[in-house]
C-alpha cells in the first residue's frame, strides 16, 4: 500500500476515482491494511497514512474528516466521505465497508 503525502491525500480524494485511505495506528496499520487490500482487490485505489499526524497538513486532513481514533479507514468518492470505520475485524467487514462505493455493489 502506497503511503500518501498530504497533497496526494487532498488531490486523490477529490478525484473521480474512488479511493480508500487507511490511517495507521501507533504501530502501523497492523493487519488492517492487509484486510482492506484483500477486500479492495485492485478495484479501488488504496492510500495509506502512517503515523497519522506526522505533519500539520495530514493532521488537518484527519481533523476535517472527523477521525477521532486510529487506526481508521476512510472511503471517498469524488471528494465525498462515504464511510469511516475504526474496527475492521475481517475481510467480510472490509468488503462491507467499501461496498458503499458506487459501482462496487449491486445496490449502488
Amino acid at each position: 500500500m502506497k503511503l500518501a503525502t498530504a497533497v496526494e491525500l487532498r488531490n486523490r480524494t477529490r478525484a473521480d476515482a474512488p479511493v480508500v485511505v487507511v490511517v495507521g495506528g501507533p504501530g502501523g496499520a497492523g493487519d488492517l491494511d492487509k484486510r482492506i487490500t484483500a477486500a479492495v482487490d485492485g478495484r479501488v485505489e488504496l492510500l495509506g497514512v502512517a503515523g497519522a499526524d506526522r505533519c500539520k497538513e495530514i493532521k488537518q486532513f484527519l481533523d476535517e474528516a472527523g477521525v477521532d481514533v486510529i487506526p481508521a479507514v476512510l472511503v471517498y468518492a469524488r471528494g465525498v466521505l462515504l464511510e469511516r470505520s475504526s474496527s475492521i475485524r475481517d475481510a467480510r467487514a472490509a468488503a462491507a465497508l467499501i461496498a458503499v462505493l458506487p459501482g462496487l455493489s449491486s445496490g449502488s
Binding site: 501507533p26 499526524d53 505533519c55 500539520k56 493532521k59 475504526s86 475485524r89
Partner: protein, 505 residues
C-alpha cells in the same frame, strides 16, 4: 459495591431464540423484551442508589454476559437477535467509561438500539412496503414550491433567518465555518431577469459573526475594510438550492432503506404528525410541523442504531482499568483503537498520536450487524441515512438538505415556505447530526461554534435541488414505493437524478 448479576434468564431466552422455529419466536421475543426491561430496572436502580458505582464490577458483568451470549452470536445470523444482545450488553457499560458526549449523558445510550414492535416485526417480510404504509400528504404541503418567484422572494430582506454565502464574501469575518451566514439588507443595481423583469444586480448582506453580531462591511483576511458586502443573488440562490455532492435518495432495493422508511413513517404516526400532513393547514403553522417532521427523521435514525465508536470503553490509566481491559480483551469481542490526542488539534502542530494514550476498546460491531437493521452504524452512516430520508421525503415538504460536509457527521437543513399571503420565508439553516445524543438538531451557527459541521460543500460541482420539481417527485416516489402491484418487481427509488438537477457548472 454490588454489580448487576449477569442475566441468565435473558441468555437462556436468547439461546432458545436461536433454535426455536419461527412460530415460537415471537412469544420468545416478547419474553426476552420483558427480561430486558427487568435488567434495565436493576441497572437503573443500582445507578440511582450507588454513588460512584463499581465500574470494574460492571465490566465483569459485561464480560460475563458477553460470554453467555457468544454461543448465540456464533450461530445466529438474525440481525434483530444480535441487536437484542447488543442492547442488553449496553446496559452494562458504565456511562463514565464512554467517550464524550455520551459520557455526559447520565443514563448512557440506554434508549438507543430501539425499534418499536410495529417496526421490529416487519423484519419477517424484509420490511416490504405495503400500500397502507403510504403517507397521505395533502398537496398544499408541497404545491407552494412550484409558485413563481419563490426563490427570489426568499432572498428579499426580512424573508429569511440566515442564508449561506461563500466565505469569499467576507474572508475576515469572525466565524468558524468554511462559508458565512448572511442576511440580505438591500438590493444594489438592477438588471434584466430571465423573464425580462428587472432583478437586482447585487444584494447588500449583513455577515453574521460567531457571537451573533453582524456587519454589512466586507473584511479582508487581514481584517481590513473592503467596502460593502455585496453578492450576486444567483450566488445566494445556488447556496440555497445546493444539495451537495453526496445527495442520494432512498434506495428501496435495500432492506436497510426500507426499514428506515417503515420506521420513519411509524414515528410520524406515533407523534401524530401523519394526521397533520394529511390535511390542509394554515400556512403560518406549516413551519412548526415541518420542523417536527425533521426532528422525527433525525430521531428515527438516532434511536434505531448506535455508532460503535460512541459506546467504546475508554479506560483510565489505573490499576482496576488494566484488569478491566484484560477481561474485555479475553471476551474476544473487542478491538483496540487509540485516540488522537487533542494536544495537536489546539496547537496546530504535529502530535505524538497515541504514543502514550491508553487503547480504547470497540465492541458493538462484533455483536450487532452493520446497518440500520443490525443497529451498528457509524456517525457518518447515520447522517447519510438521514440524508437519504431527507432527499426523498423532507425536501418535497420544503426542508432542503445539503449533504457532503467534509466530516460527513451531519446534514445542513434549511426549511422554506410561504405564509398565508403567499410571501416566501426561510428558517435555518440547521445542522442535523443524528449521532449526537444531546443536540441532534442545532442552529448551524451554534454547531460551528462547537466545532461541528464547519466544512460544507460548495455549490460548484454539487447537485442542486430542482425546487419546482419536488412536488412531482413526491408523488412519483410515493406511487413507486407503495404501489401494491410492485410485489414482484424490485421497487427502485434510489436514482437521485429524478429529483436533483444536474450538477452545478
Amino acid at each position: 459495591m454490588p454489580a448487576p448479576a449477569s442475566p441468565p434468564v435473558f441468555a437462556r431466552l436468547l439461546s432458545e431464540l436461536g433454535t426455536e422455529p419461527d412460530t415460537r419466536r415471537r412469544a420468545l421475543l416478547d419474553e426476552a423484551r420483558e427480561e430486558l426491561a427487568r435488567i434495565d430496572d436493576v441497572v437503573l436502580d443500582v445507578r440511582a442508589s450507588v454513588p460512584g458505582w463499581d465500574k470494574l464490577g460492571y465490566v465483569r458483568a459485561f464480560c460475563s454476559a458477553a460470554d453467555k451470549a457468544k454461543p448465540l452470536l456464533a450461530t445466529t445470523t438474525n440481525p434483530l437477535l444480535r441487536r437484542l444482545v447488543a442492547k442488553a450488553l449496553l446496559r452494562l457499560v458504565p456511562p463514565a467509561l464512554l467517550p464524550p458526549p455520551w459520557s455526559t449523558v447520565s443514563s448512557g445510550p440506554a434508549a438507543v438500539l430501539h425499534l418499536d414492535d410495529a417496526v421490529f416485526l416487519r423484519a419477517d417480510d424484509q420490511f416490504a412496503l405495503r400500500a397502507d404504509d403510504a403517507p397521505r400528504i395533502h398537496p398544499s404541503w408541497s404545491a407552494f414550491l412550484t409558485h413563481p418567484g419563490l426563490s427570489e422572494g426568499l432572498l428579499q430582506p426580512r424573508r429569511h433567518e440566515h442564508l449561506l454565502a461563500p466565505r469569499s464574501l467576507s474572508p475576515g469575518a469572525e466565524i468558524a465555518g468554511s462559508a458565512v451566514l448572511v442576511r440580505v439588507e438591500a438590493s444594489r443595481g438592477q438588471q434584466a431577469g430571465p423573464n425580462g423583469a428587472p432583478t437586482p444586480e447585487g444584494v447588500l448582506c449583513r455577515v453574521v459573526s460567531s457571537n451573533g453580531s453582524s456587519s454589512s462591511r466586507r473584511l479582508t483576511s487581514e481584517g481590513k475594510d473592503a467596502g460593502e458586502a455585496v453578492v450576486k443573488p444567483e450566488v445566494l440562490r445556488a447556496w440555497l438550492e445546493n444539495a451537495g455532492p453526496g445527495a442520494r435518495a432512498l434506495d428501496l432495493r435495500k432492506t436497510d432503506d426500507r426499514a428506515l422508511l417503515v420506521a420513519f413513517l411509524h414515528t410520524l404516526r406515533v407523534r401524530r404528525l401523519d394526521a397533520l400532513l394529511a390535511k390542509e393547514m394554515d400556512p403560518d403553522r406549516r413551519f412548526d410541523v415541518v420542523d417536527a417532521v425533521v426532528d422525527a427523521a433525525a430521531d428515527t435514525v438516532a434511536q434505531a442504531c448506535l455508532d460503535p465508536l460512541a459506546c467504546r470503553f475508554c479506560l483510565p490509566d489505573e490499576e482496576w482499568a488494566r484488569e478491566a481491559a484484560r477481561l474485555l480483551v479475553a471476551t474476544g469481542l473487542v478491538v483496540e483503537v487509540w485516540p488522537r490526542t487533542a494536544t495537536g488539534a489546539s496547537t496546530g502542530g504535529p502530535e505524538p498520536v497515541g504514543a502514550r494514550a491508553n487503547p480504547q476498546l470497540v465492541w458493538l460491531d462484533s455483536v450487532a450487524d452493520a446497518g440500520l437493521v443490525g443497529g451498528s452504524l457509524s456517525a457518518l452512516g447515520q447522517a447519510r441515512a438521514f440524508a437519504r430520508l431527507a432527499v426523498s421525503l423532507l425536501a418535497p415538504l420544503g426542508a432542503l438538505p445539503m449533504v457532503g460536509a467534509r466530516d460527513g457527521n451531519g446534514v445542513v437543513v434549511t426549511i422554506i415556505g410561504e405564509d398565508v399571503d403567499g410571501i416566501a420565508w426561510q428558517r435555518g439553516p440547521w445542522w442535523v447530526e443524528p449521532a449526537h445524543p444531546l443536540q441532534p438538531v442545532t442552529p448551524l451557527l451554534q454547531a460551528w461554534s462547537e466545532g461541528r459541521g464547519r466544512h460544507l460543500p460548495e455549490p460548484r460541482g454539487a447537485f442542486a435541488h430542482d425546487i419546482k420539481a419536488l412536488p412531482e417527485w413526491l408523488g412519483h416516489f410515493v406511487r413507486r414505493a407503495f404501489a401494491p402491484h410492485e410485489s414482484t418487481a424490485p421497487i427502485v427509488a434510489g436514482a437521485h437524478e429524478s429529483d436533483l438537477r444536474a450538477e452545478n457548472p
